[in-house]
Symmetry: D2
Subunit: 154 residues, 4 copies
């Protein structure tokens, strides 16, 4: 993976702050495990309303997790007055999402002036080891944050 320079020296706190502002992230029960420039790890514990009839995580919950893992990987690289808009993503569900939690790793693979592309891998656990459950490719657009979302806004 390419090494990326963050534009915002305070990128980790920024990612954690933005993450906590979005109700959907919290509704998924996801939390930020680790943030480095262009890379974010999230964890989402199993919960009755996130699983299917067979006990595996539902594809929609997995997609939601993928979207935010990629989105915040991108967010770690932009300036303090910028944010991420998901343009599109595609995911392959390669194995059932099983285990007590899913772990999502979002990584920036390309940073352009207006477009960021990320790859996301999501892992379950079969009791012995991590099992790749989903892999995704995502296109993000860098947007200027509206004033009311900037830090210090009244």
């Amino acid at each position: 993976m390419t090494a990326f320079e963050p534009q915002n020296p305070d990128y980790e706190a920024e990612v954690r702050r933005r993450f906590a502002q979005q109700p959907y992230n919290l509704a998924l029960g996801a939390r930020v495990e680790k943030v480095t420039p262009g890379r974010v790890e999230l964890v989402m514990p199993a919960r009755a309303d996130l699983v299917q009839h067979n006990g595996y995580f539902h594809g929609g919950a997995i997609a939601g997790l993928a979207d935010i893992a990629g989105g915040f990987a991108g967010w770690s690289l932009v300036a303090a007055d910028q944010g991420m808009l998901t343009v599109e993503y595609k995911l392959n569900i390669v194995a059932p999402g099983l285990g007590e939690q899913l772990r999502a790793v979002g990584e920036v693979i390309s940073r352009g002036r207006s477009i960021i592309v990320t790859r996301i891998d999501i892992f379950g656990h079969d009791g012995t080891r991590d099992v790749l459950c989903t892999t995704a490719l995502q296109t993000l657009k860098i947007m200027r944050l509206p004033p009311e979302l900037l830090v210090g806004a009244a």
Copy 2:
């Protein structure tokens, strides 16, 4: 759109029954509006935990809705002992998901022996008219349902 013949004459009741069995669908608050062979309409009302800081539906909730709209469109065409597995999907979020509810239309565009491909369009409402929010392409795999999921299973 091509007209499809359902294999299960009881396809509508089957779709509604399977839909109601999946906790995630209910957690999204989604409901089935209409079922015809190869086509399903779902509605998902706005709710605090499905929206972002800006009041729009979150991309993850939209993806979840797209996944199930396409999945059940496929399910309407298969035999009573078959179900759907999502192989992959890709979605473009073309406008914010706004309004009191999202409406998702899933349609089968190709039915093969083992693979079904669907297209999904999701609409918000801007107060005057429907606004396309998301469009998606999805690949489903037809699977044989495990015995414990068959109707009449004890």
Copy 3:
């Protein structure tokens, strides 16, 4: 489909001129059949180097055709000093590409300030009727054309 207003009144001539400038389009043997605002129809005749061992069009040739059908659908809507850059696309090959030619229909489904999203359907012919071979979703970025590509440039 939404009706779109072209920004360039000369959009049809522009699409045909830009199409003819790209060696790859000609190498595919593709030609422009019809241009309306936000919609382009292309035709690509069968040829030995575009088909597989089984006599069907190769997936790569189909992808090339899809890319340009969507790209020029987008191009029909932009200003005279703008062009299209393909950000990404995804295609499902739902049936073999068979017949004497493939016909591609590219349509804009969303036009934003910097991003255009298109849908592309590609049809073969089985001797009696058109058969959907491939469907695609594409994301384009509007770019300012470099001066040397503008009409009238020396």
Copy 4:
């Protein structure tokens, strides 16, 4: 990357033989550089009909290369009487394809009973180092080869 066991001990010769049978691969001027179980490297030299007005490889040629790099990565893992059918793929073009040749690396990331998922990275060269040009995710279906394509068929 996971290590995969090939089902066909003669997998490398098989990949090279199948590759040489497809006219489109040869039309692209692509050649097989390296084959290991679940991984294939291809090279495609620059040529007038594969490039755009700006001198970069055309997106369609890149897609064709991605499709076959992933397809043969999958092919390296299946039995002697099996082949690959591309179900779908999605690619992000993250930088212009520039340089004297493109190098494509296709890798299997998941092998199921009927479905194989691959990731493909395509690199150009800027004079000093490799530059990621395109990344793709592809879904393949394992098919039984028709008798006339089996080795030793008259």
